[in-house]
């Protein structure tokens, strides 16, 4: 049962509230993760969108890097937008030290400033079942390169936008802003439940 899963959302800065709404809509309690102690006992963690420079600084300021990295190595984790940047192996910006969970290198704000943010529909094909995700790209990053272990689950204009490696899922876009539960459900079923 998904509802029994204990999933946290990193709530140092960003759109953590929208992710929590989606978890609530699926019957999960969800937990705001603001301190080290909040990481204990979690079955999975979502790192939301927001400003990666801010998150990066606060992870160190609140002494969370080590327990956070440990959790992200073993449990089902999902990073959206800035969260994808934090979970990457490399970022094109010396201001950010990513956690190195998924073998991708990322370019920040690759689509440009807010005026170039957009909404679109992303096609995915999971186990032969095609679906569309309602996707918002907000000052979104792009994946510049990815390693052999990484699976590309969806592309937009030939760029990989949804990828996974073992226990880690990343998306450069947001579905949590759009009342679309598809990706949240997929994350819970195929990552959190599997790596519980």
């Amino acid at each position: 049962m998904l509802t029994g899963l204990n999933v946290g959302v990193l709530a140092l800065q960003g759109d953590f509230e929208r992710h929590l709404y989606r978890l609530h809509a699926l019957g999960l309690k969800g937990r705001e993760v603001r301190r080290r102690e909040d990481l204990a006992g979690l079955d999975g963690l979502i790192i939301p969108g927001g400003e990666s420079t801010t998150m990066n600084l606060l992870i160190d300021r609140f002494e969370m890097r080590e327990p956070l990295t440990d959790l992200c190595r073993t449990k089902g984790v999902w990073g959206t937008c800035a969260g994808m940047i934090m979970l990457a192996r490399a970022v094109d910006d010396a201001r950010i030290k990513p956690l190195g969970i998924i073998d991708i290198s990322v370019q920040r704000n690759a689509y440009g400033r807010q005026v170039h943010s957009f909404h679109t529909s992303i096609s995915v094909n999971w186990n032969g079942r095609p679906r569309n995700l309602s996707a918002s790209f907000i000052r979104a990053p792009q994946v510049a390169a990815y390693g052999p272990e990484v699976k590309v689950l969806a592309e937009y204009e030939k760029n990989p936008v949804l990828l996974s490696q073992r226990n880690c899922l990343v998306s450069s876009f947001h579905t949590e802003l759009n009342d679309d539960l598809t990706l949240t459900k997929y994350y819970l079923e195929s990552f959190v439940s599997v790596f519980k």
Binding site: A11, L12, Q13, G14, D15, F16, E17, R18, R34, R35, G49, G50, E51, T53, T54, L57, L58, R61, F62, C81, A82, D93, R95, R108, N109, G112, R113, Q114, V115, S117, F118, H119, S136, I138, R139, H174, L177, N178
Partner: protein, 293 residues
């Protein structure tokens, strides 16, 4: 007005991304870098901070584009800029400059005392100040993607922001228990569209992010407004008018993220040097108040 419009949702989306963060007023690239290094989630590019606008008087306008460009180059976080109330030509310039957010702000001298900008026709999201629920809903009906309290900018006195937050919260709470007839009456009283009044009654909160601004000068001020339900904090003069901006900026970011953790707020409040001197908002004559604009 269509809050379900996809482009509008993209604008509100950026406001969502700023939640839990601190947006700092800066007047040059050096200050912008200090703000970013302290953990600001965005900066507001200005020619003068509100305390100086207040002290110097005269007409306050949109910043020189070269200041905004310089700040955009210096940092990777979103850059906001202010235009005068009703001055849609300034807003078009800011859109052409590709700032990430426009603040249609009472801190600048209004260009139009009757009408606010029609914000629906812009691709860039707008934030607007308000003192009460009626103002907030009118600004949303004009297309604002984020609401902030007005407070009394440039004073370092938090009492007006507190008043505005409490005002909005208590008005929203009342709506949640009202009958359909009462809501119709409230729409009239608030001079706001009935659809928005009904939405707030259903949600118990605004349909867009609700941030605090005006008078934040200490980490404790930031924690206070967050505890009162603000979802992020704007700091104007409070940082760069203090004796140690780097340290204070960092402390206010820490206090905003850990507002429910008084031990952490206590720790980051130590030894910050002098806060901005400020003025008591209650001592300002009505005609000099920025919030009534």
């Amino acid at each position: 007005m269509n809050l379900e419009d996809k482009d509008y949702k993209i604008r509100v989306g950026l406001a969502e991304m700023l939640k839990g963060g601190v947006i700092m007023d800066v007047i040059n690239p050096e200050q912008a870098k200090i703000a970013e290094q302290a953990g600001a989630c965005a900066v507001m590019a200005l020619e003068r901070v509100p305390a100086d606008i207040r002290a110097e008087g005269g007409v306050a306008r949109m910043a020189d584009p070269s200041i905004i460009e310089g700040i955009k180059k210096a940092v990777s976080i979103p850059v906001m800029a202010k235009c005068r109330i009703g001055h849609f030509a300034e807003a078009e310039i800011l859109e052409a400059l590709e700032v990430d957010f426009i603040d249609e702000s009472e801190v600048l001298t209004p260009a139009d005392y009757k009408y606010h900008i029609d914000k629906w026709r812009f691709r860039i999201p707008f934030v607007c100040g308000c003192r009460n629920l009626g103002e907030a809903l009118r600004r949303i009906s004009e297309g604002a993607a984020m609401i902030r309290t007005k407070g009394e900018a440039g004073t370092g006195d938090i009492s007006e922001a507190v008043k505005h937050l409490r005002e909005i919260n208590s008005a929203m709470k009342k709506l949640t228990v009202m009958s359909a007839e009462e809501l119709n009456g409230m729409a009239k009283e608030l001079a706001a569209p009935i659809e928005l009044v009904q939405m707030v009654a259903r949600l118990g909160k605004l349909p867009v992010p609700n941030f605090a601004a005006g008078g934040v000068a200490t980490p404790a001020d930031a924690a206070l407004v967050m505890k009162l339900g603000a979802e992020a904090v704007f700091v104007g003069s409070g940082i760069f008018k203090s004796s140690n901006p780097e340290k204070r900026a960092k402390a206010i970011v820490t206090a905003t993220a850990q507002f429910n953790n008084p031990e952490v707020v206590a720790e980051c409040s130590r030894g910050l040097g002098e806060a901005m001197k400020g003025i008591t908002a209650a001592a300002i004559p009505e005609e000099n108040l920025l919030q009534v604009r």
